[in-house]
C-alpha cells in the first residue's frame, strides 16, 4: 500500500507490509492486559487527547508540550520498518512520525546527558492492565544517547497513513527497529536525558532474560527459546532472524568492541 504511494526511502524495507488488521489486533501492551488481543479489545479506555509530553533532565531547554504542537514541529515521515518481538514473531510496520534526534536537538542535551529515559503513562483508569502488578508501572525504557540520536530511531504518531491506533501505542511511541519490540515504549509521556543508565521495566522484571540493550541477535538465545529464527506474521514457516534485525550495516558500529553476549 505504502509502496504504491511513494518511492521507498533509504530506511525503508521493501518487504511485504503486515496487514493492518493483524498489526492492530496482535499486540503486546501489558497496560491493557497480557493477552495478544487485550489491547485491541480494551484500548478504547485510553484518551490520547489532550496529551502532554514532558522533556527534561540534562537538557538546556526542558519543555512540556502538547502532542499536537509537538507533531506540528516536524515534517511527518514514513518509515517501513521490520519489527521483531523478543517472543519470536515479527511484522513489517509502515510508521508515520519523526526522528527522535530532531526532537532531542530541539531541547539541546547538555554535556552530562549520556542516556535517554522514556516513561509511559501510568493511569489504571485508562490502562486496566495497570490494576495488576505484573510489571512495575509506569513502563520505563531507555537508550544510550548515541542510539537515541541514530537516524533510524523514530517517534511514531501514525501507522499505515492513519493516526496511531491506541493499541499500537498512541499518541506517541518510540520505534527502535534493530532492538526487540519491548524497547519501543508506547504511549510516552516523559522523555528524560540522564547521566546514568536508566532502570528499564523488563530488565528489572527478569534481568537474566531481558537486557538493557536488547539488540536483535540470532546468536544470543533467550534462556527459554532460540532467537535464531522468527515467524513473520502472515507466514506459516519461520525465517532466519538477522543480526540487528537486518539493520547491522547502519547500527553495528554503535557496539564495536562490546561483548554482545554480555550486553544482551
Amino acid at each position: 500500500l505504502a509502496q504504491a504511494r511513494r518511492p521507498l526511502g533509504p530506511y525503508d524495507t521493501s518487504e511485504a507490509v503486515t496487514p493492518y488488521a493483524q498489526a492492530t489486533t496482535y499486540n503486546n501492551f501489558y497496560e491493557f492486559g497480557l493477552g495478544k488481543d487485550d489491547p485491541a479489545r480494551l484500548a478504547g479506555s485510553l484518551k490520547t487527547r489532550p496529551w502532554t509530553v514532558l522533556i527534561d533532565g540534562e537538557v538546556r531547554k526542558p519543555l512540556r508540550v502538547d502532542i499536537d504542537t509537538l507533531e506540528s514541529w516536524f515534517p511527518l515521515e514514513d518509515r517501513i520498518y521490520r519489527m521483531r518481538c523478543v517472543e519470536g514473531w515479527s511484522m513489517v510496520m509502515p510508521w508515520l512520525g519523526f526522528p527522535l534526534a530532531a526532537l532531542l536537538r530541539r531541547v539541546e542535551p547538555n554535556s552530562k546527558a549520556k542516556y535517554v529515559k522514556f516513561t509511559a503513562l501510568e493511569d489504571p483508569k485508562q490502562f486496566p492492565g495497570q490494576r495488576s502488578s505484573v510489571l512495575a508501572w509506569p513502563y520505563v525504557e531507555g537508550l544510550r544517547l548515541d542510539e537515541a540520536l541514530h537516524p533510524l530511531t523514530f517517534m511514531a504518531v501514525g501507522l499505515q497513513g492513519r493516526v496511531l491506533p491506541n493499541q499500537n501505542g498512541a499518541p506517541l511511541r518510540l520505534v527502535v527497529p534493530w532492538k526487540y519490540g519491548f524497547k519501543s515504549i508506547k504511549s510516552v509521556v516523559r522523555i528524560t536525558l540522564t547521566r546514568e543508565q536508566p532502570q528499564t521495566t523488563w530488565a528489572l522484571a527478569a534481568p537474566d532474560e531481558y537486557g538493557f540493550y536488547a539488540n536483535v541477535n540470532p546468536a544470543v538465545p533467550h534462556p527459554r527459546w532460540s532467537q535464531a529464527t522468527e515467524r513473520r506474521i502472515g507466514e506459516l514457516r519461520r525465517r532466519p532472524t538477522l543480526p540487528f534485525n537486518g539493520y547491522a550495516d547502519q547500527v553495528a558500529h554503535l557496539y564495536s568492541g562490546m561483548d554482545l553476549r554480555r550486553f544482551f
Binding site: 493483524q22 489486533t25 496482535y26 501489558y30 497480557l34 495478544k36 488481543d37 517472543e87 514473531w89 505484573v134 510489571l135 522484571a205 527478569a206 538465545p221 534462556p223 527459554r224 527459546w225 532460540s226 535464531a228 529464527t229 515467524r231 506474521i233 502472515g234 506459516l236 514457516r237 519461520r238
Partner: protein, 227 residues
C-alpha cells in the same frame, strides 16, 4: 476397560451392585451405574477440540499467529487431560463414585494424543530440522522438560491395553504407570517456563496437581494407619 485394579475393583463393586439388586440388601450408596455413554462421550468430547482447531485453522480464526495459538491450545489440552486423568482416583476416594475410574484410561490416552500433536506442531514450526530440535531439547530446560514429559507418556500409552497389564503383571505395570506423576510435574514446569510473565494459569495447574497428590497421600497414610 477392566485392566487395572481401580477398574477391576470398580468392576467388582459393580458386580456387587448387581447382586445387591438381585438380593434384598440395599445397594452400596455411591457406586455408579454402568453409564454406557460415558466412555464414548469422553472420547468424542476429548477429540472435539481437534475439530475445532482444524476449523479455526481453515477459517483463519486462530488469529495473526496461528502456529503459536495451535501450540498453546494443544499443550494446554494435553496438560488439562493429564490432570483430569489424575483426578479420577482422588475423586473416587473422596466421593465413593466408581465412574471416574472407568474414564481414566481414555483421559490419559487423550492427553498423550494432544501432547504428541503439540510436539508435531513444534516440529513443523522448526521445519523438522533435527539440529534445531536437538539443540532446543539439550540446551533449553523449557523444551527439555516438555520433551521429557512426552517421552515418559510413550510407554504408558503403549502399555495401556488390558493385555499389557496381564503380560507385565499388575505390580510392575503399576510401578511403570507411576511415571505419570513425573510427567505431570514436568508438564506443569514446562507450562510455567513457557509463559513470559503471567503465571496465573500454570499456577492453577500446579495447585490442582498438588491438591490431587495431597488427597492420595492423605488417603494412603490413613489406610496405613488403619492397617
Amino acid at each position: 476397560m477392566k485392566d487395572f485394579p481401580v477398574l477391576s475393583r470398580q468392576g467388582r463393586s459393580e458386580g456387587g451392585t448387581e447382586q445387591a439388586r438381585a438380593a434384598p440388601r440395599p445397594a452400596p450408596r455411591r457406586a455408579s451405574r454402568p453409564l454406557p455413554w460415558l466412555g464414548p462421550g469422553i472420547v468424542v468430547g476429548g477429540l472435539l477440540p481437534v475439530g475445532g482447531l482444524l476449523l479455526d485453522a481453515v477459517t483463519g480464526a486462530l488469529g495473526a499467529n496461528p502456529v503459536q495459538r495451535a501450540l498453546l491450545q494443544t499443550g494446554q489440552l494435553a496438560l488439562a487431560l493429564l490432570i483430569l486423568s489424575l483426578a479420577c482416583t482422588p475423586l473416587r476416594l473422596l466421593t465413593g463414585w466408581t465412574w471416574p475410574a472407568r474414564v481414566r484410561k481414555a483421559l490419559g490416552l487423550l492427553a498423550f494424543v494432544y501432547a504428541a500433536l503439540h510436539f508435531l506442531i513444534y516440529l513443523f514450526d522448526h521445519a523438522f530440522t533435527p539440529g534445531v530440535v536437538l539443540e532446543d531439547v539439550l540446551k533449553r530446560p523449557f523444551v527439555t522438560v516438555g520433551f521429557a514429559a512426552l517421552v515418559l507418556l510413550v510407554p504408558l500409552a503403549l502399555t495401556s491395553t488390558r493385555d499389557a497389564v496381564r503380560r507385565m503383571g499388575f505390580a510392575r505395570w503399576q510401578r511403570l504407570h507411576q511415571l505419570v506423576y513425573v510427567a505431570v510435574g514436568l508438564g506443569v514446569l514446562h507450562y510455567w517456563w513457557g509463559v513470559k510473565k503471567d503465571h496465573t494459569a500454570p499456577l492453577i495447574a500446579a495447585l490442582v496437581v498438588a491438591a490431587l497428590f495431597a488427597v492420595r497421600l492423605l488417603r494412603q497414610r490413613r489406610a496405613r494407619a488403619r492397617s
